[in-house]
């Protein structure tokens, strides 16, 4: 959960850079919306972590490695196409984390459900980003 929270917060910083770097109004507005979406997601993940903490320490989770979900922290290309393509990779990584995480955490229903919803949102983001290319 902490990894997810850190990842989402880090991505928020990345997309704030994307807002500055993009030139098209549409793309700028889209990344601004993603920043807001991420802020809500961080709040949700923090709340779920807080409310489910008594159960989390009881079950070991295996075969789930942070290294497989690297966090991109910088964007410095001034090209909308390149920015969007980078964001697609970020969204795909996060989507993979949340989908697999949902399966791993099936015993914590609220966590699994939230992860699945977030993975669905990542897919929608990917579809939108592709439409800008």
């Amino acid at each position: 959960m902490q990894f997810a929270i850190d990842n989402e917060a880090g991505t928020m910083g990345l997309y704030e850079q994307a807002v500055r770097l993009s030139s098209s109004k549409k793309v700028k507005a889209f990344f601004a919306d993603l920043v807001e979406q991420l802020s809500k997601r961080v709040d949700t993940l923090e709340r779920i972590r807080r409310e489910n903490i008594t159960e989390m320490i009881l079950e070991p989770i295996t075969d789930f490695y942070a290294d497989e979900y690297p966090l991109k922290l910088e964007m410095n290309e001034n090209d909308d196409r390149v920015v969007c393509e980078s964001a697609i990779i970020v969204e795909e990584t996060r989507m993979k984390f949340f989908r697999y995480g949902a399966q791993k955490l099936e015993f914590l229903i609220e966590v699994a459900d939230a992860f699945e919803r977030m993975a669905d949102e990542n897919q929608e983001n990917i579809d939108s980003l592709r439409s800008f290319l």
């Binding site: 229903i109 609220e110 459900d113 939230a114 919803r117």
Partner: protein, 483 residues
């Protein structure tokens, strides 16, 4: 172009494919403010399927987690309190204060349902036989739904769904096509709060949607609030399809005023009872029974207080009574007033033809009072559902109770008295589900069942409180022995 409201299915807003719509009208102005789609059987079945799929995981969600979801909804409704109240007044017509009162009750229902971790506990006993223990667990069952009325578009669905989903079931709300906007806004708020998709759904429409919900093999039970005529159809159909059912029907609520009543405090309660929500509530006063000597002073004060009521657009400050919720409702009330006159009752105050400045097209009827009413007149036996006070003069309490019990309905009844003996007699003998002692509107709060008897209620378990928890769960008995 007026917007057609959307369904909410499986966590998404979905436009209905149906071409048929019904107008949503602001009853103060007569303007069309939205349209309700008459959704199809296919769309209804999509909602049922979504709820059925969501049940598998939702029923395994810990009770505290379910309660926390309800808590968040409760807080969000509190945050949007004023906005929700205004929407309600705009589509239904009641005054803003009445809408606020309705939302207070709405929130209380959700608050009560957050106690479900305790309310859904079963019970057990050891050694019912040697080495054998027995227990009851209260299990959720699946997909439930409600068919909601037009008079309390914010509150009535919360008599049911918070308890249904709190206990682990999933749910479908079918709002009244006349007033969908309150539910639409509630669902927009709920959508932001992370309730798992499919747990709570909304499908707009008419009889076709209701029938599809009842006939589906995948639904468990129905909660209905509306007229007894339609209620009986729903109840019969529910029985044919093996559904649990709770049907809250019509009412004719008798308010009895004894000679020893405190008139100064009784009259305001009577005015609120008969004219609150423009008489469009199942707990509204229906007939005023004036016992013995109280008749003359009571009549005089009731007319005086009725004349002072300010009628207008419910959104405006100072308005005490809004319009009728619909043209149909207005015409129905007017026709009953006509029948009262034809049958020989004396019209002391005539609310017909009232003009409200600035609102020439509103569905307004002013306060109306009849005297010399006989128990067999239409205005004394039928539900008016409008701002009319028929007064019957009776000689004593026995005559009052005889008239009350002869009526087909048994929703509520109140007595105003200073005598404990009269009060006990009344609550003991009168066959009505919600009794008021010096209370004009005997509205149970969320922790109590919303009762009703005779033609006012069909079924065994009521909405709200422990009754609701029992309606939405089954007592499963477990008998164990270990070798």
């Amino acid at each position: 172009m007026t917007e057609v409201v959307k369904n909410y299915i499986n966590g998404k807003w979905v436009e209905s494919k149906s071409k048929e719509t019904s107008d949503v009208i602001n009853p103060a102005t007569g303007e069309v403010i939205a349209k309700t789609p008459m959704s199809t059987i296919e769309e209804t079945n999509q909602a049922i399927e979504a709820a059925k799929q969501a049940f598998r995981r939702w029923r395994s969600t810990p009770t505290m987690t379910r309660a926390r979801h309800l808590n968040r909804i409760r807080s969000a409704f509190e945050d949007h309190f004023e906005e929700l109240s205004k929407i309600l007044t705009t589509e239904q017509g009641k005054t803003l204060d009445e809408a606020r009162g309705e939302y207070r009750r709405t929130i209380e229902n959700i608050e009560c349902a957050t106690s479900i971790p305790s309310l859904q506990m079963g019970y057990n006993a050891e050694d019912i036989a040697a080495g054998i223990d027995e227990m009851v667990i209260k299990q959720p069952l699946g997909v439930f739904f409600c068919i909601a009325p037009f008079n309390f578009p914010g509150m009535v669905p919360t008599w049911f769904w918070p308890f249904a989903i709190g206990t682990g079931n999933t749910y479908i709300v079918k709002p009244s096509p006349q007033v969908p906007l309150s539910q639409v806004r509630q669902f927009e708020i709920i959508h932001e709060l992370g309730l798992p998709k499919g747990v709570l759904n909304m499908v707009h429409g008419g009889a076709e949607v209701a029938n599809a919900l009842i006939e589906s093999p995948d639904t468990i039970g129905v909660s209905f609030v509306g007229s007894t005529h339609v209620g009986k159809i729903v109840y019969k159909k529910a029985g044919e399809f093996g559904k649990r059912a709770q049907v809250q029907g019509g009412a004719k609520n008798f308010i009895t005023v004894m000679p020893d009543a405190d008139l100064k405090r009784t009259v305001p309660a009577i005015i609120t009872s008969f004219y609150g929500c423009t008489g469009q509530r199942c707990l509204a006063g229906g007939v005023l029974l004036a016992v013995g000597d109280i008749y003359e002073p009571l009549k005089e004060k009731v007319v005086e207080a009725s004349e002072e009521l300010i009628v207008g657009n419910g959104l405006e400050e100072g308005v005490q009574m809004g319009p009728m919720a619909s043209k149909h409702g207005m015409e129905h009330t007017l026709s009953l007033i006509e029948s009262g006159i034809k049958e020989g009752a004396e019209l002391l105050l005539d609310g017909r033809g009232i003009k409200v400045d600035g609102y020439p097209d509103g569905y307004f009827i002013g306060p109306t009072v009849f005297d010399k009413v006989k128990p067999d007149m239409k205005i004394a036996t039928e539900e008016i559902f409008g701002p009319v006070i028929p007064i019957i003069h009776v000689k004593d309490l026995d005559e009052a109770i005889e008239i009350i019990d002869a009526n087909r309905y048994g929703n509520a009844s109140s007595v105003f008295t200073s005598s404990g003996k009269v009060a006990r007699d009344y609550q003991y003998r009168v066959k009505a589900g919600n009794i008021g002692i010096n209370i004009g509107v005997a509205a149970p709060i969320a922790t109590f069942p919303f009762s009703g008897m005779k033609d006012s209620f069909l079924g065994d378990l009521h909405g709200q409180g422990q009754d609701a928890v029992d309606f939405f769960t089954e007592n499963k008995v477990i008998i164990t022995r270990w070798f």
